[in-house]
């Protein structure tokens, strides 16, 4: 077996050194009834690369890759171009095959990139500090809600009607387990500001999203003002990190905690994971944060270096009193994010954001020109909702036959909300004028 270096002679010699007759001796504590005799049921013996590659390629071939044709799906994950350099960097053995940087003297590579990542995320969100990443945007959102209840010593969380339903579900689950009340405002395309009316003096935080799941961008400043007036916090969510290059960032709206999905920068679609959760907050809240934090220090000779810090918040030190149970996070995806961000620079990101916005504007214009289509999202960045005169699922299936992946039916994310005729779609810098023309033409045929 190509992955196992020990030879039969090695094994015999080692057993001899140990003084054991066979490896069975090491498993003597296993109750007899729980010992597996014979082979794993149904699994063949080891196979060479070629055989495994054939099997996996067959499975991969049954999927339609986003790059293989016009593609307009967003709603929490986005098709962007990732520079070749990024994948080279994350495949460097020293980054790919190392562990959480517990031994800083031989992990400065990982630690310095995390410090740079934290600085970039803080700047993008316009917040004071950011952590070294969470699993993804949805779990970051859930952790933000719980963090707000710790910081305010209150037990109520209010979710906007435009918050991504998966984020809302993850947040409800974590909160309800801890006896935190969750209020979900009615799903609405342009309803983020309703949070301002809903907040009361029992509220720990209100959670709003911009751009929201329907694509609507909102200035949440009035929400922040109303929340702060009641002693509550504003958690500001985004699922499209590229929007931060152009759209008002959480910090400029008075957010206390900013959380979001970082997949768009540096990370591929990967059918939903692994992604990278971004988590930032005000300086005041830093000791309430979940997850790893990298900080600057010096070594015994006074040289600047970096270490994991404030670990007394974390499970491996604080156990049942930790701020979260999170351990492994998204280190390599954070590296992809920071490497892509470094290549872009602030101006590059801004330019990329403008290209995304213009593609979405062009798409909206083209679709709006199709008789029967109504664009529903009033202000948007790179995605929006539109209504068709037919069932959305049927429309998407027919688009699929024309080789176009046209978006997500809103009813998949909002079942029971009578959105059967609504489609959520996105455009990015990958979207070409030909893609847009093909979409509009096919849609015209269908409806």
């Amino acid at each position: 077996m190509r992955y196992l270096p020990l030879t039969a002679d090695d094994r015999a010699e080692m057993l001899n050194t140990i003084g054991a007759k066979s490896v069975d001796d090491f498993y003597a504590d296993v109750p007899e009834s729980a010992r597996l005799h014979g082979s794993v049921e149904g699994l063949t013996d080891h196979q060479g690369e070629l055989a495994v590659e054939r099997h996996m390629s067959k499975l991969a071939a049954k999927n339609r890759a986003a790059s293989s044709g016009p593609f307009f799906v967003g709603a929490g994950a986005y098709k962007h171009h990732v520079p070749a350099t990024v994948d080279m960097i994350i495949q460097r053995s020293e980054f790919l095959t190392t562990y959480t940087p517990y031994q800083p003297e031989i992990a400065q590579g990982t630690l310095q990139t995390l410090f740079e990542f934290q600085t970039q995320v803080a700047a993008l969100t316009a917040m004071d500090v950011a952590n070294a990443s969470m699993y993804d945007g949805s779990t970051a959102c859930a952790e933000a809600a719980v963090m707000a209840t710790r910081a305010t010593r209150r037990k109520k969380v209010i979710l906007s009607g435009g918050l991504h339903p998966h984020y809302a579900a993850a947040t409800k689950l974590l909160c309800e387990a801890q006896g935190i009340e969750v209020v979900q405002l009615e799903h609405a395309i342009d309803g983020e500001l309703a949070l301002a009316d809903a907040v009361d003096d029992q509220t720990a935080c209100v959670i709003g999203q911009s751009p929201n799941t329907f694509g609507t961008v909102s200035d949440l400043s009035p929400v922040a003002e109303a929340a702060h007036g009641k002693g509550a916090l504003l958690v500001s969510v985004f699922t499209e990190a590229v929007s931060l290059g152009l759209v008002t960032p959480p910090g400029e709206m008075g957010a206390d905690i900013a959380v979001g999905e970082g997949q768009s920068i540096g990370n591929g679609l990967n059918f939903g994971g692994p992604y990278v959760g971004l988590f930032a907050c005000t300086q005041k809240l830093v000791r309430q944060m979940p997850g790893r934090l990298c900080g600057e220090t010096t070594d015994a000779e006074g040289k600047r270096g970096f270490v994991l810090t404030l670990s007394t918040r974390e499970q491996h030190i604080r156990r049942d009193k930790a701020t979260s149970n999170i351990c492994t996070n998204s280190g390599l995806c954070a590296l992809a994010f920071t490497a892509h961000m470094t290549l872009l620079g602030g101006k590059g990101l801004e330019q990329m954001a403008v290209l995304n916005h213009e593609a979405a504007c062009d798409l909206a214009d083209a679709l709006a020109a199709v008789p029967g289509v109504e664009i529903l999202t009033p202000r948007f960045f790179n995605e929006f909702a539109f209504r068709t005169p037919m069932n959305a699922e049927a429309v998407l299936a027919m688009l699929d036959e024309a080789g176009i992946v046209g978006g997500v039916r809103a009813s998949r994310l909002f079942p029971g909300d009578h959105m059967g005729d609504v489609i959520l779609c996105a455009a990015t810098e990958c979207t070409t004028p030909e893609d847009i023309a093909a979409y509009a033409a096919a849609l015209k045929e269908i409806i």
């Binding site: 080891h46 500090v129 007394t312 620079g345």
Partner: protein, 524 residues
């Protein structure tokens, strides 16, 4: 001096300097590298994008006022930046990485190649399911092997990492208690004091109360203490137990523990962080386990990536299966795979959704590639070699270091600091290993052993590598026993000397900031 025909010296002369300072800050192949913010400019970019048309704006004025100000680097600068930084990292691809409980085994490159097939890496989680049948089939296939290897009837695939899998299992237990009408009364979760910190943290996150149970002199659960804790049993929700445990030992009384917990009306959560010791030899389902997460990044070698991403599919017993989170994959009668995403029908008793989308697909591809590559014989051999390697290390080092528990270990060998002279601590031994070219072992964990050193070699090491490692650690251990003060200063040969963690925590600097302007220097 010998010279070639150009007059160039071709053999070295013996001149020694005790310490060499360089002007550049670099030291030979080890290049100095400043922070991105000190070398980049906001005018620089490493990505060429088309110029925007600048004609359209439908943002309604919700626009960023202050630019990010973030610097960029050109491609060659960026490549060097990360290349130089990478060389300050230790990695499994460089050498033995014996972090106990972390399972740093070889990461096959085929797994990386497969995860990058466009049919896996470039598909969207919400595109129509008819266009991702191969992805759903892959999830189903991996799920089948995870169920088979554990002999468990169900598996939740969406947890993002080990601790997230713990959350999944404990939420399933909570939901089962809700169904029984006992969630308000059954709050107590037993957790051994040797447990990973994530266990008590997870229990609390799910609304439970942690009750610690002691370890006995053999490093296993103290059955007398366990039975005493179960005397009052109507408030017991369950137990969270790692097996093989964090001392690297198989819990001898595991079946009796499971029976006792079940008789008390509780559930058995098994922390599967150490499943890699028993794959192909023991199926947790045969031990009475109700839920167990599997760290794909440990047992099935999806790379650790410097702290993730992980993946923590969680197998569930018949008793907990109905409460599994959404989404999950089912195969319909017509042979089509389908995601069950809503809490209705077959998922009507589900405890809910843990996370956006369907789990760590990129890790699923790698794990399935690993399983198929190894096959039934390879998986079993990998477990046995991991255990053999750990026992070899234990046998070689117990002569100079203190093994706190008698008998063989499983996949990791545990030592205490009892052998060290006054003033020499575990951390000194760990840092001295760095100078020998190794990543240190896990230190100060588990908490049940003073100054713990937990060594997990994995199956990826040859006997020659193990011998070199043992020679190095044996020599350090002898110096520690003799009280060699030089150990306190280690490492001497790493990119950095020992770092000041207290300073970092006292006044945290968590991001780069423009240095305060220096006072103007008077002109000469």
């Amino acid at each position: 001096m010998s010279m070639n025909t150009q007059g160039r010296p071709t053999s070295p002369e013996s001149v020694s300097m005790s310490s060499i300072e360089t002007v550049s800050g670099s030291r030979g192949l080890l290049q100095h590298e400043d922070l991105l913010f000190e070398i980049g400019t906001s005018e620089t970019t490493g990505v060429d994008l088309p110029a925007p048309k600048g004609t359209k704006n439908r943002l309604g004025g919700v626009t960023r006022k202050v630019p990010t100000g973030l610097p960029g680097l050109s491609e060659p600068q960026a490549v060097r930046h990360y290349m130089r930084l990478s060389q300050k990292n230790y990695a499994i691809d460089l050498g033995l990485f014996p972090l106990g409980s972390c399972t740093m085994k070889h990461n096959p490159r085929l797994n990386e190649k497969m995860a990058r097939l466009p049919g896996f890496g470039d598909i969207h989680p919400l595109q129509p399911q008819a266009t991702v049948q191969g992805a759903l089939e892959l999830i189903d296939e991996l799920a089948t092997w995870l169920k088979t290897l554990t002999n468990m009837p169900a598996v939740a695939m969406s947890p993002k990492a080990g601790a997230h899998g713990e959350f999944c299992g404990m939420m399933a237990i909570r939901q089962a208690l809700i169904a029984r009408g006992e969630v308000e009364t059954r709050k107590r979760v037993l957790v051994p004091e040797s447990a990973h910190g994530t266990n008590p943290a997870t229990a609390v996150q799910c609304g439970f109360i942690v009750d610690e149970i002691k370890a006995n002199k053999r490093g296993r659960v103290d059955m007398a203490d366990l039975k005493a804790k179960l005397e009052k049993s109507d408030d017991i929700a369950g137990i969270m137990l790692t097996n093989p445990n964090t001392c690297g030992l198989f819990e001898t009384d595991i079946k009796e523990i499971a029976d006792l917990i079940h008789a008390a009306g509780g559930y058995f959560y098994c922390d599967g962080a150490n499943f890699n010791a028993i794959v192909g030899r023991v199926r947790p389902g045969d031990l009475g386990v109700d839920a167990m997460h599997i760290n794909l990044h440990k047992t099935f070698s999806t790379p650790h990536g410097g702290g993730g991403p992980g993946s923590g599919p969680t197998v569930l017993s018949e008793a907990l299966a109905p409460y599994a989170p959404v989404p999950f994959v089912v195969k319909d009668a017509d042979g089509m795979y389908r995601l069950v995403e809503d809490i209705e029908g077959v998922a009507s008793e589900s405890f809910g959704r843990m996370v956006a989308f369907h789990g760590q697909m990129g890790m699923f591809v790698r794990a399935l590639t690993y399983i198929l590559s190894h096959g039934a014989d390879g998986l079993k051999q990998a477990s046995e070699d991991a255990v053999l390697n750990a026992n070899y290390i234990q046998a070689r080092l117990k002569k100079v270091m203190t093994a706190p528990f008698e008998g063989y270990c499983m996949h990791e060998a545990l030592f205490s600091d009892a052998f060290t002279a006054e003033g020499i601590e575990t951390i000194d031994i760990a840092k001295a290993l760095i100078d020998e070219g190794y990543h240190p072992m896990t230190m100060y964990f588990p908490l049940v052993v003073h100054g713990a050193m937990l060594i997990e070699p994995t199956e990826s090491e040859s006997k020659a590598e193990l011998d070199r490692f043992c020679d190095a650690l044996e020599s350090i251990a002898r110096r520690a026993a003799q009280g060699d003060e030089a150990l306190k200063g280690a490492p001497y040969l790493a990119p950095m000397r020992r770092l000041d963690e207290t300073k970092a925590a006292r006044k945290p600097v968590l991001k780069w900031a423009e240095p305060e302007e220096a006072p103007p220097v008077a002109a000469e």
